[in-house]
């Protein structure tokens, strides 16, 4: 921010012109996407804010865990097939928040997908069942499947406790495989999407009755033999001589031991399709829902396993991610879910634009009436600041994926007033200088020297507020802080390289110097030259003389 001397007002203008030109080319180069990316509140869609929490109290979430979590969520969300779905993080460690944004119409599935806290375990399969609920016994009351929201009071003994996510029974658990448990499992309706959506973490030490993730099979599963945390790595690989994609798994020493025991026992059992109980398969259970149920081909003794199947690359990657994800010591809490319809979004955008234009118009009218020619300079500066801010936004949208939210729009509108204030401070200083009896040319420069310091100090405070807000906030506050900071910088830029040089150039015009009511700087109207000197000057002149005499 080198001081711009009056001898070279054009220098600042040239610098700015080059910058604006470059920015314009970068932002609006033909053939690229030239629009600002809109936030979900402006274009419609679903946004979920998740707070990751460590599973064990008091431990810190590492960057690696966070980025892994984000990657998995991103993959799941991408699986929705919605363009421009976005997963971002804000903050780090235990202060982090993960923000999932999916544009477009109501996306209920997003919440389902993303909210899964993914507790993973491996259980031997006891029995495969048909997904439809078993016929109610003759003595039974009305069928519970008729109204999913009815409370599942029908039934099972105390030992077999249906666990519910909301009002829907997802899974049935019991310490033993008794009749009551089997009856409760029988009532489970695995064809209901809300049932097989899962989301209810299971207790690994108990028996589990649950569905698979597509709602095609119902399982009765024995207590878990391996927990997700015992998986040390999982990868989708395409073996050299293999037929298709497989998921290769590695377990830690405890997991390896458990796997060896379980696989030895299960290999000898009959196929599950035959209806036998127990049978040769183990279920990979994610949040109470069976993700996959492969069988053992042979005892696995080395702690390294491969899950084979007719996997596509995508399926293998998904499964390996689930295996890894489940091993993450992070639970996710969906703290804010917002769904905005596209029409409401565009209404809000329109209202924001109208409010902005109206605000700009009102400010322009006021400045023009009050400051006349200087007012024109101020309005041009404002428009230029707005244009440069917009172009910067487009560039940032392209390069770092910045999105403009409603809070950001509000920030921009409010910045109109704060930016205009810089010009007011400068103009009032010029007027003060003229009142002190300076010529217009001198006033434009000396007024600037003083206004500049005030501007920098005041804008620094604004910028400080914006930066602190940006780094210590989440969600919409952050978008607002960003716009506020950006516009503050623009304010300084425009004031230094546009407003001041233009005013100095204007001050050299004979017409302006002769003074007219339209200049806004007429010494006679301001009461300048004829009343030279302020109270301080007068008293200073008089004061010491008297003291010394």
């Amino acid at each position: 921010m080198a001081p711009i001397t009056s001898s070279r007002p054009s220098r600042g203008l040239i610098v700015l012109a080059v910058m604006v030109f470059g920015l314009g080319i970068w932002a609006f180069f033909p053939g690229t996407d030239n629009a600002v990316r809109l936030g979900l509140d402006l274009q419609g869609g679903t946004q979920v804010i998740l707070i990751p929490r460590p599973v064990t109290e008091g431990s810190e979430i590492s960057e690696e865990q966070l980025s892994q979590t984000v990657n998995i969520i991103r993959q799941r969300v991408d699986g929705l097939g919605v363009a421009e779905a976005e997963v971002t993080t804000q903050g780090s460690g235990n202060n982090a928040a993960i923000i999932v944004s999916v544009p477009g119409a109501n996306q209920d599935r997003v919440v389902d997908l993303v909210q899964r806290t993914a507790l993973l375990d491996f259980r031997p399969v006891y029995q495969l069942l048909s997904p439809v609920p078993a016929q109610a016994e003759p003595s039974g009351s009305a069928s519970p499947s008729a109204s999913p929201s009815a409370s599942p009071s029908v039934g099972p003994s105390d030992a077999a406790s249906p666990s519910a996510s909301g009002d829907v029974t997802n899974i049935v658990q019991s310490p033993t495989n008794d009749a009551a448990f089997q009856e409760a499992v029988g009532k489970l309706d695995c064809t209901d999407p809300e049932v097989y959506a899962g989301g209810t973490p299971d207790d690994p030490s108990k028996w589990l009755g649950t569905c698979d993730q597509t709602g095609t099979t119902k399982y009765i599963l024995e207590p878990a033999f391996i927990k997700g945390t015992q998986v040390s790595s999982a990868n989708a690989v395409l073996p050299q001589n293999g037929l298709g994609w497989v998921v290769s798994l590695e377990f830690d020493s405890q997991g390896a031991k458990a796997l060896a025991e379980a696989s030895t026992k299960l290999t000898g059992l009959p196929e599950c399709n035959s209806g036998a109980t127990p049978c040769n398969a183990f279920a990979i259970v994610l949040d109470g829902v069976v993700t996959s149920a492969p069988r053992f081909n042979e005892p696995i003794l080395g702690g390294q396993a491969q899950i084979e199947g007719d996997f596509t690359a995508q399926e293998a990657t998904d499964l390996s991610n689930i295996l890894k994800y489940g091993a993450l010591p992070v639970t996710l809490e969906a703290v804010d879910i917002t769904t905005v319809s596209p029409t409401v979004g565009s209404d809000q955008l329109r209202a924001g634009i109208i409010a902005g234009l109206l605000g700009l118009g009102l400010v322009a009218i006021y400045l023009l009436i009050y400051y006349r020619v200087l007012g024109i300079v101020a309005v041009l500066s404002l428009v230029l600041a707005g244009g440069v801010t917009y172009a910067t936004f487009v560039v940032l949208s392209k390069t770092v994926g910045l999105t403009l939210t409603l809070a950001g729009v509000a920030g921009a509108i409010i910045a109109i007033g704060i930016t205009a204030d810089s010009f007011i401070v400068y103009f009032e200083r010029i007027r003060d200088e003229i009142r002190d009896g300076r010529s217009l040319r001198q006033a434009c420069d000396s007024g600037w020297v003083r206004a500049r310091r005030t501007l920098l100090a005041a804008d620094f405070v604004s910028l400080l507020a914006a930066v602190v807000l940006y780094f210590l906030s989440v969600g919409s506050v952050r978008g607002f802080a960003f716009v506020l900071g950006l516009t503050t910088l623009m304010d300084v830029l425009i004031a230094f390289w546009f407003t001041h040089p233009i005013v100095v150039l204007l001050g050299r015009l004979g017409w302006m110097q002769r003074g007219s009511r339209w200049t806004g700087l007429d010494p006679e109207r301001l009461g300048g030259a004829s009343l030279a000197g302020t109270i301080i000057e007068k008293s200073r002149r008089r004061g010491p003389k008297e003291v010394s005499s």
Binding site: D108, I418, L526, R541
Partner: protein, 377 residues
């Protein structure tokens, strides 16, 4: 706007008189009056906060919020629908634009989706048109904690910056004015029962920046006027500060108008086109805060600064010298007091050429100034 243009000559003249110190509003002298006014407003604000409390939005309580645009159903129908579904009390409101808003206790995503469907069917609106927000109860605590963290960090940095740029007394005075504005803004929310949302928090945080910005501009002038003030005995610190406030008064008024115009635009457009929403929440907080910010930078920050300054020995000594000198001046009927200065402006110019002796400078530009005034003559 027409009033502005018709009364322009008066205003211009006022600007000049304020600048010269001819028509001076005694801001500092009536410190007690401003304090009493502010104290009453603050008491009302705090009272409202204590006894009425804030109407916290669902972001802070946890809950689900359904906005049904251009709904054909009545408030009662929507209420019945939602209460039957949740089995608990719900809050239903309707905005001017015909949007029915239903707020319930927190729901699971599946439940909220179901209720949105029922509301859509009952109110003749597609389910996808309904804006749904479900917030967990911990989110509000999270936002508040972060906002508070941000506030503390910001204030610390601010005190450091202001202490370096001005001095610590100005930093304290600026903080006092800031606290004043925040309490009043929050008090207005408690009084009116307007909903407090994250947008409100943004608004309040912006007031931090704005209120300080305003104070910084005024203090910059105070500092300029009082630089080297110890070297003379005509003006007390209080008088120089008062002059600074008067000199920046036109700017303060203009700035407030210019800053409030966009906010008013938001309120008008927000209320007219959108009903309640982020923009409106934000604008109301800002409008109140900015008005309070302008008021406090003039009526609170500067008087408070002067009070603190008056405890400084050198400022006290200065006040003593000025008083002594004025007593002396009064005994010499030829000279006139500072306060009736406007009448001797012509006399001032005639005496100007006589004064050529070097004098201790009050302003750092003093030599330049003397040279210029001679040229101007």
């Amino acid at each position: 706007m027409s009033t502005t243009s018709t009364s322009r000559p008066g205003l211009r003249g006022l600007g000049q008189r304020l600048y010269n110190g001819e028509s001076s509003i005694d801001f500092i002298g009536r410190t007690r009056t401003w304090y009493v006014v502010s104290a009453i407003i603050l008491l009302v604000s705090i009272g409202a906060l204590v006894f009425r409390g804030l109407n916290l939005g669902i972001e802070f309580r946890g809950g689900a919020d359904f906005s049904v645009p251009s709904a054909t159903c009545s408030i009662e129908q929507a209420r019945t629908l939602a209460e039957d579904f949740t089995g608990a009390q719900v809050i239903v409101t309707e905005s001017a634009s015909g949007t029915v808003r239903v707020q319930t206790e927190t729901l699971t995503p599946a439940q909220s989706s179901q209720l949105a469907g029922e509301l859509g069917a009952g109110c003749g609106v597609g389910k996808d048109e309904i804006k749904v927000q479900v917030v967990g109860p911990t989110w509000g605590a999270e936002i508040s904690r972060k906002a508070l963290q941000g506030l503390v960090v910001f204030l610390l940095l601010l005190v450091i910056f202001l202490s370096i740029y001005f001095d610590w007394r100005m930093a304290i005075a600026a903080l006092v004015a800031l606290a004043h504005d925040l309490v009043i803004t929050i008090g207005i929310y408690a009084l009116t029962g307007l909903e407090v949302t994250p947008a409100t928090v943004i608004g309040v945080l912006t007031i931090l920046g704005y209120s300080l910005y305003d104070t910084v501009v005024v203090f910059d002038k105070v500092r300029e006027n009082t630089r080297g003030i110890g070297g003379q005995s005509v003006l007390t610190y209080a008088e120089a500060a008062n002059l600074a406030v008067n000199q920046t008064l036109v700017r303060s008024i203009n700035t407030s108008i210019v800053a409030l115009l966009p906010v008013i635009a938001i309120i008008v457009v927000g209320a007219g086109l959108l009903g309640a929403g982020t923009l409106l929440d934000l604008a109301v907080a800002l409008g109140v805060g900015m008005a309070a910010g302008t008021y406090s930078s003039i009526f609170i920050a500067t008087p408070f600064l002067v009070q603190m300054k008056n405890r400084q020995p050198e400022v006290k000594a200065l006040a003593g010298r000025v008083a002594a000198r004025r007593a002396q001046v009064q005994r010499q009927p030829k000279s006139q007091g500072v306060s009736t200065d406007s009448s001797d402006s012509d006399g001032g110019s005639s005496s100007e050429s006589v004064v050529t002796t070097k004098v201790p400078s009050v302003k750092r530009q003093q030599p330049k100034r003397a040279a210029r005034s001679r040229r101007g003559r």
